[in-house]
Symmetry: C2
Subunit: 331 residues, 2 copies
DNA sequence: CCGATCTCAGCAATCGATCTCATACAAGGG
DNA sequence: CCCTTGTATGAGATCGATTGCTGAGATCGG
């Protein structure tokens, strides 16, 4: 196949390459008759503009990186999915970047994103470290973060109201009759994880209930340890809040292996609202984050900032999703 | 920040830009003394080469697209994870492309990959359609497929031996004492899904057992329907093979909601070996695919083809992963 | 009928690198 | 001492697009 450059099309259409360029990217600048002819010729040749050359010349592209720590984590996978959609709804191409928790890679992606002239990027951080990496780059390229960011109001963020989410979970459990409610922490390091934990502690205190933190670890084994801890307690709670759905899965699994049944013996509620939860055994009751909205909003925020320089911090409302992992306490 | 082009570095180092270029990409072509000086200067300036400009000029890049139908599916997520690693072990940058099952998007990614001068691409197809899309592009850009491909030996592939996997599952179940073993199909359309189903049917026939296909549907609800079907049968099988782990999850979940317990009432075995399975309730016994190997091999195959034009078809061995979802039949 | 205004398309420089070719200088052979 | 050979760097065209500037015609009012 002969390389399809703009010049080839220009020759075929009998015009200059600048005209072809304009036909594509500035339709009003070329007589509509000519334009249509060019477009037709291009179509016939199967021509598409080189995003590379375009980006190089324009010093701006439509590549927008989404930086996530671990695509294997369904939360990020769902985020990636909806963001892909949201991105190309607006004519962007999402580039999924997975750091696997390696800060060096985050750095790499940031410089790559500069080099690719990305107009902006989205970061879903696993740790607070990531946001520090951002500071090492003086960003003409803007970034929006899907999490809360401490001490740096200059970066737009979108989060779900952690406190509200925990409150919803607590209320649900209370209404079911639970009075002793434990907590298993999720991946540490993120602000949201911290916020959820804090909310649990505060809210418990407020309602005069002694908090029972079964595990505050940072890894996926928190669930297993939480379950073990649960068994060691003399008067174990009748319900458990897990910091996120993945932890909830792990808790239920570990509990199950030790003969504790959910929700018969103990209720478990998660936080995230993963689609996967519906197919868990039992289907997971959880606090749903509007993941799809978060994706769209993140992109809107980025665009808005690009245009008028405004920096917003959007906080979304979570909602309760009752499925099968919670019920009244065993009497 | 002043735009960091190769010329800036060249000036700063007091050499011509060609020398800088060579210092980076053809180290042996420049006096080591000069080279080190240039590298030092570049380092100090925080300079990195523009992958865009590089690709444009070289007509080849290190971007390699991985095209998957659905990143939300943990199989593809795990594949993506290991391939990211495998890719940049070899100096490539993996670009994750999600089609969401939309063939039009697949096309889009193919043309994008041409435009980006990707040296090759990896496709993990959801349907046979994808491979047809490939034919519409005459590929100077080569593709390797993670699946079997029908009637087109020209494209390298890597797969797991489906028949062997099903056989392993069957043998495991037999050894546990099961004689009536049902099957729930997975996502249809892929060759592997077809192969697994065929293998089940043939192998059952060979051992003189009547196959019981609980569902042969193509979507994620196959699990639910399979469970319903299971309940309607007079003499239901004592074990079920699910075409993949996700379906196994769904089956177990649906069964659980209907009061059927796994493995007490019925054993269930999956196919994939997802990490998630270890945290399911109960932990899923499954036939493990060496996903990480598949990723590495896919890239090797692509490179090999690029070099000597060879087209290989690698078939990997699956292995049994016994966890908690299988046990002897209830007597 | 003429100059002013407006459209529309061509020209050429440019983005940041690569690569072929040419040049400069050093070393080695006869 | 001159010519060959080789090594190390510089010059400049090029990849595929964009864009400010220029000029050719068309339109229009007086």
């Amino acid at each position: 196949m002969p390389d399809l450059s703009i010049d080839v099309v220009a020759k075929a259409a009998g015009v200059h390459r600048s005209t072809v360029s304009r036909a594509f990217s500035r339709p009003e600048a070329v007589k509509s008759e000519t334009r249509e002819h060019i477009l037709r010729v291009a179509e016939g040749l199967g021509y598409t503009m080189s995003p590379l050359a375009q980006a190089l010349r324009r010093k701006t592209s439509t590549f927008i990186p989404l930086i996530v720590p671990d695509i294997t984590n369904p939360f990020f996978a769902e985020l990636a999915k909806t963001m892909t959609q949201a991105a190309d709804d607006r004519g962007y191409q999402l580039l999924l970047c997975v750091t696997n928790g390696d800060p060096a890679k985050t750095d790499g992606y940031f410089t790559a994103m500069q080099a690719m002239y990305a107009p902006f990027g989205i970061v879903a951080p696993s740790t607070k470290v990531d946001t520090e990496a951002m500071k090492r780059f003086d960003f003409g390229h803007k970034v929006v973060v899907i999490d809360r960011v401490e001490g740096d109001d200059a970066v737009p963020t979108v989060t779900v109201d952690s406190r509200r989410g925990i409150k919803i979970a607590l209320e649900h459990l209370h209404s079911l009759g639970h009075t002793s409610i434990g907590y298993v922490s999720g991946i540490a390091g993120t602000h949201t994880a911290q916020d959820r934990m804090d909310a649990y502690l505060e809210l418990s205190a407020e309602s005069g209930i002694a908090p029972v933190v079964l595990d505050s670890g940072s890894d996926l084994d928190a669930g297993t340890r939480g379950a073990e801890h649960y068994l060691e307690i003399d008067n174990p709670p009748t319900a458990i809040i897990a910091a996120n759905d993945m932890v909830a899965f792990a808790v239920i699994s570990a509990l199950g292996q030790r003969g504790v049944r959910v929700p018969e013996d103990v209720s478990v509620i998660g936080f995230d609202g993963l689609a996967l939860g519906a197919r868990f055994n039992p289907p997971l009751t959880t606090v749903r984050q509007p993941i799809a909205d978060m994706g769209h909003i993140a992109i809107e925020l980025a665009e808005k900032q690009n245009i008028d320089g405004s920096v917003d911090h959007i906080v979304l409302e979570p909602e309760l999703l009752v499925r099968g992992s919670t019920s009244g306490p065993r009497k």
